[in-house]
């Protein structure tokens, strides 16, 4: 066993060297004894980076690039675990997308990245997603949370449509619904009866953790704002 592999993996992450992260993750997987330790080390590291970002000690590109490096390493390590028939624990499952009529991708993708490095299974449906499609995917993957993003104000009706469709099909209590993006304000969250809203990608991780740790099932009377 090479005891230097995990420190080297952390170093590669902090150097934003995705290729090196892959190589080291492969090596750790091949040795097969430190896989869970490596995953834990990366999770702790990325949480620290998230905190540093909140304190504006590092900036968005550093955070995203390190999260992407981590995703690449994580995929390799998790593949090894599932290959051996071991469980990969998840905090919950989130279906994400930008609503119909809106093609803006970046904020939603950033939320997806932060959620996946935060330990959530994320299914990103992309942009211009119809309400029905959110529901199909949520059903298929057994989601806990559906996240619907809209940057432009003209995407707002599509967010409302999603809530209406859930209610009309009797599925509103199955999922927490969170909304986000430039078009969303606290008033809007209450107006359409969503369960939560976060102002930042880091906030979205806290929001999902809060919702899944909540004693109350969906729909919530008072939305959670992070």
């Amino acid at each position: 066993m090479n005891s230097k592999l995990i420190p080297e993996l952390k170093e590669a992450l902090l150097a934003y060297d995705e290729e090196r992260v892959r190589v080291l993750a492969e090596e750790i997987a091949r040795e097969g004894v430190q896989v869970r330790e490596a995953i834990d080390a990366m999770v702790i590291l990325i949480r620290g980076l998230g905190d540093q970002f909140e304190r504006t000690e590092i900036f968005l590109p550093e955070l995203i690039i390190s999260a992407e490096c981590m995703k690449a390493g994580m995929a390799i390590l998790e593949k090894h675990l599932t290959g051996k028939g071991e469980q990969v624990s998840r905090q919950g499952t989130v279906v994400l997308g930008t609503v119909r009529g809106d093609l803006h991708d970046i904020g939603k993708t950033l939320v997806g990245t932060m959620l996946s490095v935060g330990g959530f299974a994320v299914h990103d449906l992309g942009t211009d997603v119809r309400a029905e499609r959110f529901l199909e995917e949520a059903e298929r993957v057994g989601a806990d949370i559906i996240g619907a993003s809209s940057l432009i104000t003209t995407g707002r009706p599509s967010q409302r449509e999603l809530l209406e469709l859930l209610a009309a099909s009797g599925q509103r209590q199955k999922y927490y619904i969170i909304i986000g993006g430039g078009a969303v304000t606290e008033n809007w969250v209450s107006e359409i009866g969503a369960d939560g809203f976060a102002r930042s990608a880091g906030g979205a991780v806290k929001l999902c953790q809060t919702l899944l740790g909540s004693k109350f099932p969906a729909p919530l009377t008072d939305p959670v704002i992070c």
Partner: protein, 474 residues
Amino acid sequence: MTIKGYSCRRPLELLSSDELEEIHQGSLAVLEDPGVVFEDREALEILARGGCRVDQSRNLVQFPTSLVESCIEQSPEMFTLRARNPEYDLIFGGETVYFGNFATRDLIDPGTGLRRSPLINDLADFTRLCDALDQVHFIIQPFAYLQNAPARALGEWIYATVVRNTEKITNGPSFFGSAPGIVRIAQTVGQDVLGGICAASPLTYPADQAQGIIAFTRSNNPVLILSGPSMGATGPATVAGSLLLQNAEILAGLVLAQLVNPGIGVIYTGYFTPMDMRYGTMAGGAIEVGLGAVATAQMARRYRIPSGGWFPMTDAKIPDAQSTYEKTAQIMLCALAGLNFSIPIGGHENESAHSLEQIMIDHEVCAMAGRYLDGVRVDRTTLAVDLIREVGPIPGNYLSKRHTLKWWPQEYLISPLSNKEPFDRWEKGGCRATAEVARERALEILCTHPAPNLDPGVDREIARILEAVEKEKV
């Protein structure tokens, strides 16, 4: 009231002609490969017929250089937008400089000071306020959202509410296929509409924007095509790279407009902003937006087409020192650059919220920028050699001279808002801060300035069109 715009005779330059050429050539390369996505069948057909290479499976359009250059050539250097009252007609392009108001999502409620969603009445009020202000030469819909309008007919309701409250030139937004309904309302009222089109960076035209270009230009209405890459997020982190991407995106829309209606007016409109990587916010008040303003004006002049900017902006959340210095820096640069069209008046935190105070403050800065553009009149009378000789050294003075009586109000901008009183008078008046005075002025205007007359038959016809649009869109 007639519209008094400005002229910029010696525009500021930031980039050399070689640098402009490099941006142009780089944009042509990007337009050829990878090209631009248009998420609309009809747009793809028109572009294919016009000579573009179209990959239908990816909605991807690749533009041959010769087509782009001939379409630029076809775009007019200047064009007139007709208002229903001819006194409000505007000529865009050349040396003209016009200001308009900004468009936001929310407003800061004048009563409570809290942010909230706008209602139809708020849109009517803010339009009336802009109608009354002489530095607002054209009106952009003050709000891009209405809480109590039917969602699918949002664009049509916004346009109808604006034209019911002003005779000035206004734009028509492209929301959910709103262009045809807006054109019908414009024709009923008897005016041109400036079609508002926004590319989604990088390199994409969403369906409603592509359809907007087709519907507005086909009905002979000019379009302002804006592109707003965010530096480091939806565009390269460099000013030059984002300018190049912006240029490529605007040109792609311009080609579609010229293929639909050769010779139709296009306003080349910049909108790029940096992203503040500390927070992931759009830094609309950044000085780099000012760099973009000057470069955008230069690029458009190189193409001999009218220029515009979807700015100035501020990142400040309330009317304060930051909102004022950020807006002022950008307003001055827009004016000095000779940008034909910009929207300095009102707006906080990019496109988030309007306040009455900021509208009045920006209006003041536009008047100052305009005074600069009006320049220095140099002739025998203004040089006043004879008068200087006559007055001579101290104790001579100019206060009692007829020359002063005539010239001081012409040469000096009598500020509509700024306090120039002596200290004791200001103190007696209650030591009031500018924002407080600004708010009071705005409320006075709202109490006294009526909406323009609109023929009741025309008003009924607008209502009928709105009803029809709502039914069609259900």
